[in-house]
């Protein structure tokens, strides 16, 4: 096992572990949020392994640095002293059902990977110079995907307006 | 036909139309969009000024047309046509099938005459309207609206007469119809007025239907012959190739074939019948008197109703190829003339008398068209515009002076009070009755002469005598009107007898100008015969002028005997009519009561307009209303569409929602999430397999 593979499995383990912790067994919602951060940072590590450095940076900057902090801010604003997780999950059958569903999904994937669906296009070992770096990705963003960027800007603007209106105590 | 005309581009033409249109739009948009009104004096100045400017521009163009600006005299060059192409209005197709219609104005002799009449008489009526609307006691506040409509009408009428192609002409045609509708129902607060407006519009639609069919038929046959065109120039050039074609008549019309030109001509004539209130579509015009009197003068006497005549003359080349259509036109005109004159004798409303008189005179014009005497039709159109506008406005002056009394039975003896009005009315009456030397004398005389000599027309003798009878009837009802209104003792209600006087100057001076025109207007078309008698070298100048557009008939071989016979006949009829009126209404009023039992039934029939309205009501209106109400509205709309389709589908959806779908709507976000997931899985499964 190469160092790269080792790192991947380490990050993958961390990500899955903390994801399960988040929905499963932490007792406090802040801990859940921190678990989510660990997942995000692990994923960022995997992105770096996959030569997507800009995505990794933005993953941390946006997810860990802004989104989860926003969660924490709201949690603290609401002052959820008692752990904030509310009544225990209802409908254990649902858990089982979805658990079965998940297993089936993964099983399918495993079968698919064994059957070679994913090896249609083998991994390219020699990547172009500067693959995944900000410059190349930036050029792609502002040439081929300029419209998408504009649209995402519009979505963000709409969400800002929506959030402001929702958060206002009284609409005047 | 004269030689090919010389086409001259002239960008000035568009402003003839645009100046009044702009004024109308300016105040109209302000009114409609911003609910603001300009001050009334500003509106008055703007609208009168714009029409006057339009008149000035028309005169200028006229001067250019006849070459007054130091150019080569008109005799030495082919006749000129000014043309102003704004842009390509409609452009479709490529190659052989390409067809385009320009938004273009054309100013030839015919347009020039119409244009000058419309803007000139229109300007006088505008000025008159200022006084009339000011004296109007109805507190409507609609002065701005009124002048907006009036200007819009002028613009639409100018589009009609200046149009270079059928489509644009149709635009103007519909535009004047719209303005007519708006102005008839101007005092829409009164239900009857609004109803009259609708009636005018609907009856006109019948005619417009014919017009549209005519346009399509013409275009279709021309396109079939490989010459798709709508401009008059192109139609005239290419019509010869299709003129001889025939159309198969459908079986229920007895089969057989009808000439294409005839059928097209009849379709167009149907439009003219509607617009010019000929039999059988005349019923709207008497009701149109519900509008303000200046409107009656401008639209329903002087200009719009003559659009049918104008159109027929404009398409004279088409009618030349369709003698069958000309027969129909002539007979329609003749019958209408005598019929309407008959009806006019029994009317008591001063404006309705004039309305029927208008119908009758329009009948004369169509009679002239039917004889192929197009220039004479236009000549009568012009003189009629002068004296009928004069008469209407005089009647309006009377109405204003008597505080909106329109029933002649309650007038009388106004001669002493309304001196000026009386004299201008006398001028108008003499002109319409064809008093020798007055304008009507020449034009009517020319028409009857043409009919007399129209040997190719079946029954032209009968038509001639109908014309003579109409002249007699005209003299009768016009003098009846004059006597009932101005002579005898006053029959006004006591309360209104007080300060009776001529209306204000702004109303009177247009009347005086028109009186002069009514008296002297005949000069422009002075017939050759009379010209020779009084030593005028080049008489019938209007005819010569129009010769560039329409065919002038061969000069009739007139000698003094024939003329004496013709003139004598008309004069005798007129004098008979005058005498009858004098006897019945001045010298022996008592005779009327005695005649009452004798003439009871015919008189009542005439007074009720031969029950034409009732007939239409029973034959067309009521069955249609009943059918619409019972079958279409209650049965199909309310029952089938509303009840079954609309409400039924709504009920079905509601039932489905209430009993089935609502269980999906649990209000629990996670249930929705689960459904979404299931849907996604299903979609994925479908995509994978």
């Amino acid at each position: 096992m190469s160092f790269e593979m080792f790192l991947f499995y380490a990050f993958a383990f961390l990500a899955v572990f903390s994801a399960v912790a988040m929905i499963g067994f932490v007792r406090h919602i802040v801990a859940a949020a921190m678990s989510l951060v660990v997942t995000m940072v692990s994923l960022a590590g995997i992105y770096v392994l996959m030569h997507a450095e800009l995505i990794a940076a933005i993953q941390i900057l946006v997810y860990a640095g802004a989104i989860v902090v926003l969660f924490l801010f709201v949690i603290m604003l609401l002052d959820l002293r008692d752990g904030g997780l509310g009544p225990a999950a209802r409908g254990q059958n649902l858990v089982k059902a979805v658990g079965v569903g998940g297993t089936v999904t993964i099983g399918t994937l495993v079968v698919a990977s064994v059957s070679g669906v994913f090896s249609v296009n083998p991994l390219v070992e020699s990547l172009p110079e500067g693959f995944g770096e900000h410059r190349a990705l930036g050029i792609a963003l502002f040439t081929d995907y300029a419209l998408a960027v504009e649209l995402v800007g519009l979505v963000l603007l709409a969400s800002i307006v929506g959030a402001v209106i929702l958060a206002k105590r009284k609409i005047d | 036909m004269p030689a090919d005309p010389q086409w001259i581009e002239d960008a000035l033409l568009r402003w003839i139309v645009f100046v009044p249109l702009g004024t109308a739009l300016a105040s109209g948009l302000l009114l409609a969009v911003f609910r603001r009104t300009l001050s009334s004096s500003l509106v008055v100045w703007m609208s009168c000024g714009s029409v006057f400017a339009s008149f000035g521009l028309s005169s200028l163009s006229f001067a250019k047309l006849v070459g007054l600006f130091g150019e080569v005299p008109v005799d030495d060059v082919p006749p000129r046509v000014l043309i102003d192409t704004l842009y390509t209005w409609v452009g479709v197709g490529v190659g052989n099938s390409a067809f385009s219609a320009d938004l273009a104005f054309r100013y030839d002799a015919l347009s020039a005459v119409m244009c000058l009449v419309v803007t000139g008489v229109g300007f006088l009526i505008h000025v008159y309207s200022v006084g009339y609307m000011r004296a109007d006691t109805r507190d409507d506040g609609g002065l701005q609206r009124f002048f907006c409509y009036l200007n819009l009408f002028i613009a639409a009428m100018l589009v009609l007469v200046l149009a270079d192609n059928l489509l644009l002409m149709f635009l103007g045609w519909e535009g004047v119809g719209l303005c007519s509708y708006l102005l008839i129902g101007f005092w829409y607060g009164d239900r009857q007025n609004a109803y009259a407006g609708s009636k005018a519009f609907i009856v006109n639609r019948i005619g417009d239907f014919g017009f549209i069919v005519g346009i399509l038929l013409l275009f279709w046959s021309m396109a079939d012959a490989g010459q798709p065109a709508v401009s008059f120039r192109a139609i005239e050039a290419g019509f010869g190739s299709v003129a001889s074609q025939t159309l198969a008549l459908p079986g229920w019309l007895g089969g057989g074939e009808i000439g294409l030109a005839t059928s097209i001509g009849l379709c167009f004539f149907l439009g003219a019948v509607g617009k010019s209130a000929q039999l059988p579509l005349f019923v709207w015009l008497p009701d149109a008197m519900a509008g303000p009197t200046p409107v009656s003068a401008l639209i329903h006497a002087a200009t719009m109703v003559t659009a049918g005549v104008y159109m027929a003359v404009r398409l004279s080349f088409l009618y030349e190829a369709a003698p069958g259509a000309l027969v129909v036109i002539a007979w329609t005109g003749g019958v209408t003339a005598v019929f309407a004159a008959l009806l006019a004798t029994a009317q008591n409303d001063i404006k309705k008398v004039l309305a029927y008189s208008t119908i009758s005179q329009l009948g004369y014009m169509f009679l002239a068209v039917g004889c192929g005497a197009y220039a004479i039709a236009i000549f009568h159109l012009v003189t009629h515009a002068f004296f009928k506008a004069l008469l209407f406005m005089g009647a309006g002056a009377v109405i204003v002076a008597t505080h909106h009394e329109q029933d002649m039975r309650r007038m009388g003896g106004l001669r002493k009070k309304l001196k000026l009005t009386y004299w201008v009315m006398v001028a108008g009456v003499l002109a319409i009755c064809g008093f020798p030397g007055f304008s009507g004398f020449f034009s009517k005389d020319e028409i009857l002469t043409s009919v007399f000599f129209a040997h190719e027309l079946p029954g032209h003798v009968a038509l001639y005598w109908m014309g003579v009878a109409t002249a007699g009837l005209t003299a009768f009802y016009m003098f009846r009107l004059l006597f009932l209104t101005f002579h005898g003792k006053t029959r006004l209600p006591r309360g209104r007898r007080g300060e009776l006087d001529d209306p204000e100057d702004t109303m009177m001076w247009p009347l005086q100008i028109l009186a002069v025109l009514a008296v002297l207007g005949g000069i422009i078309g002075l017939p050759q015969f009379w010209g020779d008698r009084i030593g005028v070298a080049e008489s019938n100048s209007l005819g010569h002028f129009l010769a560039s557009v329409v065919r002038l008939g061969e000069p009739h071989a007139l000698d003094a005997g024939v003329v004496a016979q013709l003139v004598g006949g008309v004069l005798a009829a007129s004098i008979t009519g005058f005498g009858l009126a004098y006897v019945l209404y001045i010298s022996r009023p008592g005779l009327r009561e005695k005649l009452e039992p004798v003439l009871g039934v015919p008189r009542r029939v005439v007074a009720r307009r031969f029950y034409v309205d009732e007939l239409y009501d029973a034959v067309f209106v009521r069955p249609l209303v009943i059918f619409s109400d019972r079958v279409l509205s209650r049965g199909i709309d309310a029952g089938l569409i509303d009840g079954r389709l609309v409400m039924g589908s709504a009920h079905a959806v509601r039932g489905l929602a209430a009993h089935v779908l609502k269980h999906l709507q649990s209000g629990l976000a996670q249930a929705y999430l689960l459904l979404m997931l299931a849907g996604t899985v299903a979609l994925l499964a479908y995509l994978v397999t």
Binding site: V30, V69, E133 | -
Partner: protein
């Protein structure tokens, strides 16, 4: 590998062991001077105060020897984690800041930066965003109202200023065309003609050629003066130092989010703050003040000049020393500047703080981006290849 470790260690030692304690001393002395008192003169060793230099040492001893209290009901794990989460970002942030150029000694070449990554500026922002967690968790885990209020304030303040901080330096990326800090430093090692922009409009008239001789270092502060002001404000607010110290406002919240900390955990927060002061100074120096660059003396000039006398290897060494010295003197200046600001301005009110961020800095940053873009576009249109000003 060894080089990397050496460079890292060098930075860590210089920053943590040299600068941070020194700054506490400087701060005390400077505040004392500014407040017209003596200050930092009590700790003595056999009567000798060494200008108060013994105070940092005394502080360290005190912190190490104090009892480490954890409030009742606090989340012990997070309580212990928070100071570490606070200090680590501050420590690792310096990794991308170059404190020297690239030098060649015989066959080995090395660059004086711990990690020369391609997206260095982004790295700084990433680290800045992660630094939030220390304050947030500290406030949360302490189970104290003061801490909680401080943490809430810290969260909102840091998220807000992160956004504007990122936007305020976009102009710098645009001008230098890179996110890499070493590239930027090299680019700043040159000069530009102050009146060069005149070329865009017309050629200089004869006799005005002396204008071309007026040159300025190609530093961010000269190219992007507005960005400099905005960035300095934002990054200081991000560090929660006065006058932006709302989260720890001692007159309102005792000590804000670290009220419930004592001993070495408190010391970590304290140290993190001072390290951040140095990091800020380093980042601002690298972005705006030319990093290691000596004004008007480019690396080639120095190397060539010294090499002509003493040989190339020695020249590189001298050059390296000069550069490192230059960089750290800039850092010291900026640290001093931050001190000056800290003791000169009164604390903001919270609404003023937010207003400043969203209503002043954000629009100005956007304006700066727009103006920079317009200027660069103009320069490209008129004189392709000319440097933007």
């Amino acid at each position: 590998m060894i080089l990397v470790v050496a460079k890292t260690l060098f930075i860590l030692i210089v920053v943590t062991l040299l600068f941070a304690p020194l700054i506490t001393w400087v701060e005390r002395k400077q505040s004392a001077i500014m407040q017209d008192r003596i200050g930092a003169n009590r700790a003595d060793l056999a009567g000798m105060t060494f200008l108060g230099l013994l105070h940092p040492a005394a502080d360290v001893i005190k912190l190490l020897s104090k009892e480490d209290l954890v409030p009742a009901g606090a989340n012990r794990f997070l309580h212990a984690l928070a100071p570490i989460l606070s200090a680590v970002p501050a420590l690792i942030a310096f990794a991308v800041i170059p404190y020297g150029a690239t030098y060649r000694f015989g066959d080995t070449t090395f660059t004086l930066v711990a990690a020369d990554i391609d997206w260095g500026v982004l790295y700084l922002l990433v680290i800045g965003s992660l630094a939030t967690y220390g304050s947030v968790l500290a406030g949360w885990a302490s189970r104290s109202n003061w801490s909680m209020l401080g943490a809430i304030r810290a969260t909102a303040q840091m998220i807000s200023y992160e956004v504007t901080m990122g936007l305020s330096i976009v102009g710098i990326f645009m001008v230098f065309g890179s996110l890499k800090l070493t590239d930027m430093a090299v680019a700043q090692d040159t000069t530009f003609r102050v009146f060069g922009f005149l070329d865009l409009f017309a050629s200089l008239p004869a006799g005005a050629g002396w204008l071309n001789a007026i040159r300025l270092p190609n530093w961010g502060i000269f190219l992007q003066p507005l960005a400099f002001l905005l960035f300095l404000t934002c990054i200081m607010a991000e560090n929660k130092r006065p006058p932006f110290d709302l989260p720890e406002a001692d007159s309102e919240l005792v000590a804000g989010y670290f009220t419930e900390y004592s001993g070495m955990r408190f010391g970590l927060f304290y140290m993190a703050e001072f390290i951040e002061v140095v990091v800020i100074a380093g980042a601002v120096a690298a972005l705006f003040l030319g990093g290691w660059a000596v004004p008007y003396l480019s690396q080639e000039t120095i190397t060539a000049g010294v090499a002509s006398l003493f040989g190339e290897g020695f020249a590189n060494l001298v050059c390296m020393l000069i550069h490192v010295g230059c960089f750290f003197s800039k850092v010291v200046f900026l640290v001093w500047l931050q001190m000056l600001i800290r003791w000169s301005f009164p604390r903001f009110r919270y609404d003023q703080l937010m207003d400043l961020c969203w209503k002043v800095i954000l629009p100005l940053s956007l304006l700066n981006i727009f103006l920079t873009a317009a200027g660069m576009l103009l320069a490209q249109q008129i004189a392709p290849g000319a440097a933007a000003s």
